[in-house]
Symmetry: C2
DNA sequence: TTGCAAACAGACCGGTTGGTCTGTTACTGT
DNA sequence: ACAGTAACAGACCAACCGGTCTGTTTGCAA
């Protein structure tokens, strides 16, 4: 049991319940009243840990959603063949995908789509996150190019956003159609394309 | 000048103003009060033409957003080479894209992302719209296959959702990063891939 | 010209929203 | 032991939300 007063764990609890709410309803539609009810925490406690709803939203985004997202995208880079590694990662992602997860979609993308044009904070966070991801993949492709594992015509700075966009698009399509097969077909197609980049 | 009382045009006006609001703010955050203010129309008039906000949302989605979307995706099919046609269409889309349009993103996708998991009506509409689009592209690829313009290994039912997902992902990435170049790079990459499908 | 429904106008309403404020309880350093 | 502050608890609030309801104006058919 956690002690009767553990500020760090109540903060964490608040964060997780908020994340759960925002996953399904989005940022704006997630009401503080619902969060408080679900978490069985008083309003005073919430406003002791977070200045306002915006700060709570930022914290959820940074500490839960972005963390999860980048962990999911943590493609093994040290493999003998990076393209194979990405393809294998895609296959694993495809197999792990459940219908429920797919219906929920990618929380980062959901919140980003909702808030990017309305809130600078969310915009900056989204931007830097995707920059990180894209450059990570671009580096991988560049080294593969140097090692002669990838065709010289490949432009890492074009292919990396392409990969990101396609995976994101696949998740969206899967979410809209509630269809696991569509999602898998798109990812398989992406893997096919990537193998054409090999020397 | 329109006559002092023209129910059809006030309905249309209401639809357009609502669309403008929902483009920027999404469905839920678009308030009726703001719409009414902007349209300079009374609440009585709105509720005379629409049963409630949901019906207004559906009408905006059907009569404005889906219409625009399918018009944008109206790729010329009768060309000599369908793959070339798609590539040319992609290029045109890439050139026409403005920074403002990109920041706003695709209204259909925005609303779909927000509402698909919360509202059956929006879900059904989104689903059938993308089904229409995908099968339209699949048919194009199938006939091209029959004509021997596309490799026999190509599976139209996989490639068509792939194309849709990638373009959608490209728009999202462009929206998030407010960057026209990323958007264009992704589309160019897609065009490259499509040309590899030619015989 | 009159009757009547369609087309609007806008005051009003209950419920919900994020946020504040005052009070109480628990821990911690001295 | 006690003081002081961090950690809560929850009543309260103004603003806003979608929606209703009553009243007025307009056009048109008879």
């Amino acid at each position: 049991m956690s002690p009767p007063r553990d500020p760090e764990s109540t903060r964490r609890h608040l964060l997780e319940v908020s994340a759960e709410e925002m996953r399904f309803k989005g940022y704006k539609a997630a009401s503080l009243a619902d969060i408080l009810n679900k978490a069985k925490v008083s309003k005073g406690a919430l406003y002791h840990h977070f200045a306002n709803k915006q700060e709570l939203g930022y914290a959820v985004f940074d500490e839960i959603f972005v963390r999860e997202f980048l962990a999911d995208w943590d493609v093994p880079m040290s493999n003998t063949d990076p393209i194979d590694a990405v393809c294998q990662w895609i296959t694993e992602m495809s197999e792990q995908a459940s219908k429920e997860k797919l219906q929920q979609g990618c929380p980062v993308c959901n919140i980003a789509t909702e808030m990017v044009s309305l809130d600078e904070g969310f915009r900056d966070r989204t931007q830097t996150m995707f920059d990180t991801l894209r450059s990570r993949i671009a580096v991988m492709l560049s080294t593969a190019k140097l090692n002669g594992q990838v065709k010289q015509v490949v432009v890492p700075e074009s292919v990396s956003p392409f990969i990101v966009a396609t995976v994101q698009g696949a998740m969206m399509q899967g979410k809209y159609g509630r269809d696991l097969e569509t999602f898998k077909a798109i990812l398989r197609c992406l893997a096919d394309y990537l193998t054409t980049l090999k020397t």
